[in-house]
């Protein structure tokens, strides 16, 4: 059986209804933040509750990464096989706009305002074979 582990603890979780990313919600002003935080950037309160963010939203903006990033990037590519990836901000209504990898890297198939959904995808493989996973968003209706 393939062993997988998330790129960070407490970043996302599986629920009976599919994956969710994990943020915090302020007990005082109800502001939602991502990832989990110990204090509220809106009101300065330091009592934050765990909050699972909505798994669907709309694409606020996007770009592509056309060159291989230096450290601290730990993606699996080399200069030879790097083909680029897409990223953007997905607006989760009433919560936050989350910065995310986008599974679709062809900009002609991305548009501001399009519906996006959360998926958990493989990111890289450790030397011992463990697959490291991350959260990403994909256009609703595309194959996962």
């Amino acid at each position: 059986m393939e062993v997988t582990k998330p790129i960070a603890e407490d970043l996302f979780t599986e629920t009976g209804d599919g994956p969710r990313i994990v943020g915090s919600r302020c007990g005082t002003c109800h502001t939602v933040v991502f990832p989990k935080a110990t204090s509220c950037p809106r009101c300065g309160n330091d009592e934050m509750d765990e909050h699972l963010l909505a798994p669907r939203g709309t694409l606020f903006t996007f770009t592509t990464q056309g060159f291989l990033p230096k450290e601290p990037y730990t993606g699996p590519e080399t200069e030879e096989d790097f083909t680029g990836y897409a990223l953007g901000y997905v607006e989760l209504p009433g919560e936050v706009m989350v910065e995310t990898r986008i599974t679709e890297a062809d900009v002609s198939r991305l548009a501001i305002g399009m519906e996006m959904e959360l998926v958990i995808v493989p990111f890289r493989t450790e030397p011992d074979g463990t697959q490291v996973t991350t959260f990403a968003f994909q256009p609703v209706g595309s194959d996962s």
Partner: protein
């Protein structure tokens, strides 16, 4: 504000093997002292900024006050400033405030840096971000610029051709500037067809990290004529950080409530303090980390309304001979970005333009009011208004 710039100095921007960042800074200070006709022991205080070693990942020291070992151990008050890409602007704002306070009446503000090739490889922990953020490839400033302009183009109808026109103008202006790093003009087609680094921004739309330094001598305005026949007055300098809802670099999330950029607040405060309207500006230098940043900063500073840039840039209004010349020395696109030096280069260029000493790139209409703006991570902006 009753502060005058009475000396300006620059070390050319580019790559200088075997010369340290501190040596670049010292050369710029000596040039500014020479321009003001004073010696280092005359200087009462200094503010200096350099970011090598932090944001850029380089190993060289970023303690600007080590300049005293090059210029003379006179025991003066020397404060290090570390404010992202707004560092040099911040040195000037702090220096001016110190003169305004009455504590001193003659000081130096200097910015310098020496960065390795390629994009900055900032570490997430230095910005208070979790490790996974860097792991996943989000710790890249160019992505932020691309995402911000992509949304702006969608909202306000800015074309890819306009992005190319901005870069072509800045390369053309840089070609006329002996201190610029990139001195070869590129056509709009070459810019559009160069490698797509971060959609919609291509390689030739971006500036690159490099090396350089710039410095100014400032004094109490009523003493300006002791040092120069062409004082430039610093009417105001304002520094602001991000408010709730603004869209900044290195942000794992943004609020769904949209707020404005710190540049909006800094520019508004600067114009108000100076008693000058944006429409009074004759020459402007704004942060053009890439073409899109110049487009957006024009409206964030109040120099035009959102969306007006399309017609303004297509109509040549931001060219040296246009209604509002912007980045007359080639901006960051032609000069590159030694972070600590960048805002001071803008002030140097503006002072040169207001003195009428900008040579081949001199704005022809006898400019009297200049404006500068620098923006940096994680959401800090500094603006100045300068007049003859």
């Amino acid at each position: 504000m009753n502060v005058a710039i009475v000396g300006i100095g620059i070390h050319p921007f580019g790559r200088f093997e075997g010369v340290t960042g501190l040596e670049l800074g010292a050369k710029a200070v000596r040039a500014a002292l020479g321009d003001a006709g004073i010696e280092w022991p005359d200087v009462q205080f200094a503010f200096g900024g350099s970011l090598a070693g932090s944001l850029s990942g380089a190993e060289e020291s970023s303690q600007a006050d080590q300049l005293v070992a090059h210029l003379g151990l006179t025991g003066i008050q020397f404060t290090n400033v570390h404010n992202g890409c707004a560092t040099a602007g911040s040195t000037l704002a702090m220096g001016a405030a110190l003169i305004e306070s009455g504590a001193y009446d003659l000081g130096v503000c200097v910015g310098f840096d020496k960065h390795p090739r390629g994009h900055f490889n900032a570490k997430p922990e230095q910005s208070g971000l979790p490790h996974w953020y860097g792991d996943l490839g989000f710790m890249i400033t160019t992505q932020f610029f691309a995402m911000k302009i992509n949304r702006y183009m969608h909202d306000f109808g800015i074309s890819h051709e306009t992005l190319a026109k901005v870069a072509a103008k800045n390369f053309r202006n840089g070609a006329k500037n002996p201190n610029a790093w990139r001195r070869k003009p590129f056509s709009e087609e070459e810019i559009l067809e160069s490698r797509m680094l971060n959609y919609p921004l291509t390689q030739y739309m971006f500036c690159s990290p490099d090396e350089g330094a710039a410095a100014v001598v400032i004094c109490r305005a009523d003493r300006a004529r002791e040092f120069t026949s062409k004082p430039i007055y610093l009417r105001s300098a304002a520094l602001r950080t991000r408010q709730w809802g603004s869209f900044e670099v290195f942000a794992p999330w943004l609020s769904t409530e949209r707020g404005h950029s710190p540049t909006v607040d800094a520019a508004r405060a600067t114009f108000e303090q100076a008693g000058v309207e944006p429409s009074d500006v004759d020459v402007a230098q704004v942060q053009d980390s890439e073409s899109g940043a110049e487009v957006m900063h024009l409206s964030e500073t109040g120099l035009c309304a959102d969306g007006e840039q399309e017609a303004m840039i297509q109509g040549g209004e931001t060219e040296i001979g246009g209604r509002l010349p912007v980045n007359t020395d080639g901006g960051l696109i032609a000069n590159g970005e030694p972070i600590g030096a960048s805002g001071m280069r803008q002030v140097y260029e503006t002072a040169l333009q207001l003195r009428g000493e900008a040579g081949d790139r001199q704005v022809p209409s006898n400019p009297k009011v200049g404006f500068t703006q620098v923006y940096g991570a994680p959401g800090v902006s500094c603006c100045t208004v300068l007049t003859t």
